[in-house]
Symmetry: C2
Subunit: 462 residues, 2 copies
Amino acid sequence: MIAITRQNLVLTSSFLLGVGLIINPAQSALISSLGFALLSYSVTYVLIPRLGPSFVKIGLFGKDLSKKNNPVLPETMGAISAIVYLFTMYFFIPFMFYKYLVTITSGGGNRDEGLELTDPVLSSSNSTDIPVISASRLFPHNKLATYLSAILCLQSMFVLGVADDLFDIRWRNKFFLPAIASIPLLIVYYVDFGVTKVMVPAILQVYLGETVDLGLLYYGYMAAVAIFCTNCINIYAGVNGLEVGQSIVIALLILANDTLYLINPGHPAIESHLFSMYLLLPFLGVSFALLRYNWWPAKCFVGDTYCYFAGMVFAVVGILGHFSKTLLLFFIPQIFNFVYSVPQLFGLVVCPRHRMPRFNAKTGLLEVSRADLVAPPAKWLDFLLRILAKLRLIAIWTKPDDDKVIVQVSNMTAINLCLVNMGPLREDRLTMVLMAVQLFTGVVAIVLRHSLASVIFGKDNL
Amino acid sequence: MIAITRQNLVLTSSFLLGVGLIINPAQSALISSLGFALLSYSVTYVLIPRLGPSFVKIGLFGKDLSKKNNPVLPETMGAISAIVYLFTMYFFIPFMFYKYLVTITSGGGNRDEGLELTDPVLSSSNSTDIPVISASRLFPHNKLATYLSAILCLQSMFVLGVADDLFDIRWRNKFFLPAIASIPLLIVYYVDFGVTKVMVPAILQVYLGETVDLGLLYYGYMAAVAIFCTNCINIYAGVNGLEVGQSIVIALLILANDTLYLINPGHPAIESHLFSMYLLLPFLGVSFALLRYNWWPAKCFVGDTYCYFAGMVFAVVGILGHFSKTLLLFFIPQIFNFVYSVPQLFGLVVCPRHRMPRFNAKTGLLEVSRADLVAPPAKWLDFLLRILAKLRLIAIWTKPDDDKVIVQVSNMTAINLCLVNMGPLREDRLTMVLMAVQLFTGVVAIVLRHSLASVIFGKDNL
């Protein structure tokens, strides 16, 4: 017997609304995608608590160090989100191409017969010397191939992410996993598309022309985008809800940027941005469901699998939508977090194994975590650290009896920086602040990007 | 320092020969595929012993009960074969479409420009009222989409297979995993292809016409093929090398059948059978490497992952090559094994948890394993068992003091049946006999299929 609780009502209605939207009478792929987002939310929400114990049983669990008694929680639960997402994306395929399918009467051959031209990308991709009649009858196999390569790439990332969670792959190796996972995407891009030109900024156009062909370098660039997006999210972690929370904010920012193109009818990039929305809406669905369990006080951990997977969704969307440079603007806090970590990562200041905030069991709040300096810092470093501390970019602690000697510095992560400036926070407040910063920098980035692009490149593409 | 051993020489030369074949000057995709097979062999061969200990560490191991002291061996090593296979298939993509790529000068737009028509499937799939000029300029995106859907399906099967090995999914659930994994294949088939007609046997053509459109039922049929192929292999197991051995024989049989079409120039099904060869050659590569370690005395187990994966390779090849009915002819020992098991599976005769042959530590040979009857069988069953025993289809054991009462019967598996007729065998001999039976029935099936098809369907398609 299923009890009538608020939660069950929300689930049932999101499920039913989802189904309704999927088979929307307007036959809009975007509305179907929204429906699949709701559906994937409810499915993920139901599955996570049911499958959690099985994960614990095979050793996928971790201790939550920021709680009293360090409770044991199932780990790698992002794998469930990823699996639900992947199957959602399979089932979405017929709806994405619905307008090409309805004109078919019955099975009996290749879809290339009896279709109407309604696809701007398709028509623009055919060169002008091909008679229109041929294009008007073609099923967009190229779009299907691109879509399948995107799913293949995400599925590969999922597999490698799970492998990482299972086998605890070494850092120097796992750093490159996303590049390996992006191979199917890059190869299909090479075979199917092959555009390796990039816009040149206006001041350089005199020397280089309007575009420059990067050739093979472009594939290196795409692999680098995959490595960047995934590892960024994986590093900016350690507080309940942060991995999923930042991913949700980034997805919302990309969706906002997509919408700017969508409300601009006839824009040539509409198809790319629709594609991006098809990938992101169900991603939001499975992520929100995961967040419900990963939010403070967390009932599960998301695992590297989720971080890799989320990052790869963004990389795929940016690469295939041809807005990978814009994409990087939505990762400002992550980029800052990396740059800010450099002194510790490169050994200028000592780097402990874990740098997450310290839990104060008495107050129940998170406090700045500290790195113990093994020796007093060199004079110039001492000077630098004191200036940074004045600017509240770090916190320093001196010997109790001699304030000339620095013995501890705050760990250099964006999370700690937040605590340095705001004081101890409860874990969920901390996550909320960090998500707000992500949202704020992203919105500013969108505004600047569309106002500055015309200055730098001579024109904005909106 | 790498020692110059026979093994290292074989590996190095298969690697180098593989690379050479891949970039063959004739630019034949089939020769490249052969090259990838050699390459995947050497990579898998190197990886398995290196990754084995990591699998044991996370609990993926099993005891070999048919050896003295029951040594502990790494389990699920077929996952490595599968991963190498999947990445091989990614890297094969540019070579599969090489002839379409070479006419492109440089990146700069969609591949639909400036191509020559050399693909019989493509030209036949375009209806006659489309001007030839359009088809002559098209990159075969439909073939790419089909290929990607095949890899997606195999990767999904891999994921679910690993999930099974990790979580030990219940029988009634795992039985349907292949149907779930086939979803991407079925959906792309629906969107992209949609042929759901089947040939009608000659005697029924008067009533039904030459073909009959199965519609949705056809999708059920395809899912059933996936379930059948995978579970068949998974059930016919339990002796070192048998899972991989039977898969290799089946793959060789399909390749032989493919070759019959290939040597028939201009045959309309050549593309389908080439496609099948592209999928099977690298599969043979990773399987032979796995067999080297799984052969008696085994150094590793292959896991459900391999059985599912191998079965799915065959299912995909049969479905996309449109010879799924012929495919079933290569599974005669597996089908026999299932039918033969029915009395035990359905409880007519008691069914112990394990039915694999019994290891005799003294002789080092495998003997028929027995099921203990809890009560004397009913009169009709007693009669039946004695007849089957006379026909050497089973072995029975009676009470030492009263040969009227049957107390034990041999377990009804094809493996035990072999031992009933041939006496105790060493494990590798047993596997060899079973592989020989597989090969023999398969060859007979190919001959009969191409001689009887014209009788049943009014024509053979060769």
